[in-house]
Symmetry: C2
Subunit: 345 residues, 2 copies
DNA sequence: TCCAATTTGAGGTTCGAACATCAAGAGAAA
DNA sequence: TTTCTCTTGATGTTCGAACCTCAAATTGGA
């Protein structure tokens, strides 16, 4: 029953408030030269009539174009490839809204390179979305961009102490905790060891997931013994070797949690040992591979953060901050998705 | 590296193709009176330059306003209240895009009433989003609306055999299967009975969830015995009574799956029996209550379909279909969310 | 009361596409 | 060649807000 009749324009507001279009315009756009009482009257009418500026007309009149730069890690990481692809889709959408995206890829393990890449962006863009590295050099580069009047958004991996305007991504501690709870529950009282594989603890998101996971497992599932974390550098061959070793050395292995990439390696090792489906196996990022592993019962759950959502969200946030349009917080919250075999999209 | 330089307008396309603005316009808007070869040339240039119409300008020029009607069930159902609230939010957003929403609430258990409500909408709206009931009268009402040139979208609950243009909602069979898998896995080999509570099997979504759940449980977890489904009519007092009885009569009760509303009643019954946290308890719809139950360990998982997402998605779909703008399928897919204690938003 | 500063009004231009109208040009059929 | 139809160009108007300028009205202070 929330009815709004046809369309209220600034004209209507001005007429109703007994002022000219120019004055109404001055009030709404915060331009100087309007007496307080008059401004108040206009604002009252705006509220009373429920006036909302026509988004299309406003955009058209403003006529600005925005340039954004997305900085993603290079390398073969599947999730980052998905993200890059989604950024390309987003770029297409943005291009109909007078905003343009350049996509840059830099070595994720080189904070210096990332920092100098960022610094080179100063003045060339209106906004930057960056998969950041929590490192003093990077932080100061982000602050420099912000100081230069650019809007900076961190993507996937945050730098909380920087002056970035917004973080688009999930709480990775919570993601790790989620994995912990799922493994704990799936184990259902069984006793034994749990293997933990991380890409590299140098990545903030990996470290955070590991932290959350450890917290839950050691705090709430005393029957499960957490093995020392092994580093895979996100490579299939290394995860495979790690798991093969584990299957040999740890007879009471109940579950494996893979914090980073390389799930195919784990699946291969399990299959080779004839153990696929015997051990609980939880990992991150829904890909063609992990989807197949779920369907075949090799993996038990996949924790995911939607690349498309993150890319679009970053774009919307940048656009909103640059153009001063409102933002719906709720829509920009990235969820920690849990996928099992039955709720695959 | 996907760079698009400033902005290509229809002017640029026309110049590049060596035709007039008028002709370029005729080609792009499919107006008659252009020779095939000429049209081809224009389309080539469009592709080559990557021309995309300015969304704001197009909207403004079209200058149409759209009227949509959202038809939701009346009654105290929490999810439907959330949905109604989100529709109100969506209405606010839409109002800046020249589209307006009326919200109607009708008795969900009365197909005749729903059907006649729908029929009364003919000609008064450009689009309708309806939480439908799968009933011949309702189906034919939807078909009548469609025949009258209106865009009809089913929301939350589908009528697949109707001519609705789109279904915004989840696959409820998959949702039920997901619950089944979670309970099966959480039980972790324990033997015993599983209680099943539905609001009413007359609701398609409830029936589908029950179907999916039963499928998984009886097919894959032979150690778990599924008790006969009990009807709660989505009422707390009734679910409470049902569970109290269950706790008395079924000593080996392992888990409870509540297909509909009324989770508070279940929590109360469990608490009264001192059994909160002892039985696996999975239900639907994330609310203040269920969130609290998750945090306290009373519930083990909540399966959710995001009301805000569904409301916005329905609006976007209606808008896109009415105005002929493109739609990003991937963005409009509603996910089956699994929430445990650790990944609450 | 008068001057100066501040407020307000009136009007115009711009953005890019959609859509309309009319005349000029091309081509085909008679 | 003439006539008629089919294409094309030229040109305008519209949408609603943003932003600009200049003149008129109002206000406040001296």
């Amino acid at each position: 029953m929330s009815r709004v009749s046809s369309r209220i324009t600034l004209q209507d507001v001005a007429r109703e408030a007994g002022v000219s279009l120019a004055t109404a315009d001055r009030v709404l756009n915060g331009r100087a030269g309007v007496r307080g009482a008059t401004a108040e009257r206009v604002r009252d009418v705006v509220a009373r009539l429920g006036y909302r500026p026509n988004a299309a007309a406003a955009r058209l009149a403003r006529g600005e174009t925005y340039r954004f730069c997305f900085v993603l890690p290079s390398g073969p990481n599947v999730f980052m490839r998905q993200l890059a692809e989604q950024v390309t889709n987003t770029a297409e959408w943005l291009s109909t809204h007078n905003a343009f995206i350049d996509l840059l890829r830099v070595d994720v393990f080189a904070p210096e390179a990332l920092a100098s890449t960022l610094e080179a962006l100063i003045g060339r863009y209106d906004g930057v979305a960056v998969v950041a590295l929590d490192h003093p050099r990077v932080r100061s580069a982000i602050d420099d961009l912000t100081a230069a009047g650019m809007v900076v958004v961190t993507l996937v991996s945050d730098v909380p102490s920087s002056h970035r305007r917004h973080y688009v991504g999930v709480d990775n501690i919570a993601a790790g905790r989620t994995a912990g709870t799922l493994i704990g529950r799936f184990a259902g009282g069984r006793q034994g060891s749990v293997g933990l594989i991380v890409g590299t603890p140098a990545l903030r998101d990996h470290a955070e997931r590991q932290f959350g996971f450890t917290q839950v497992l050691s705090g709430e599932y005393p029957g499960l013994k957490l093995l020392a974390a092994q580093e895979s550098l996100d490579e299939d061959v290394r995860t495979q070797a790690i798991v093969e070793q584990m299957l040999r050395d740890v007879p009471d292995l109940v579950a494996i949690y893979n914090v980073g990439a390389g799930n195919s390696g784990i699946a291969a090792a399990l299959a080779a040992a004839g153990q696929a489906g015997e051990r609980i196996f939880i990992g991150h990022d829904l890909t063609d591979d992990t989807r197949r592993f779920l369907l075949r019962g090799v993996m038990d759950a996949v924790i995911n953060q939607d690349a498309g959502h993150q890319s679009r969200s970053a774009a919307r946030v940048l656009l909103a901050h640059c153009s001063g349009e409102p933002l719906f917080d709720e829509q920009e919250r990235i969820r920690i998705d849990i996928f099992v075999r039955d709720n695959l999209p």
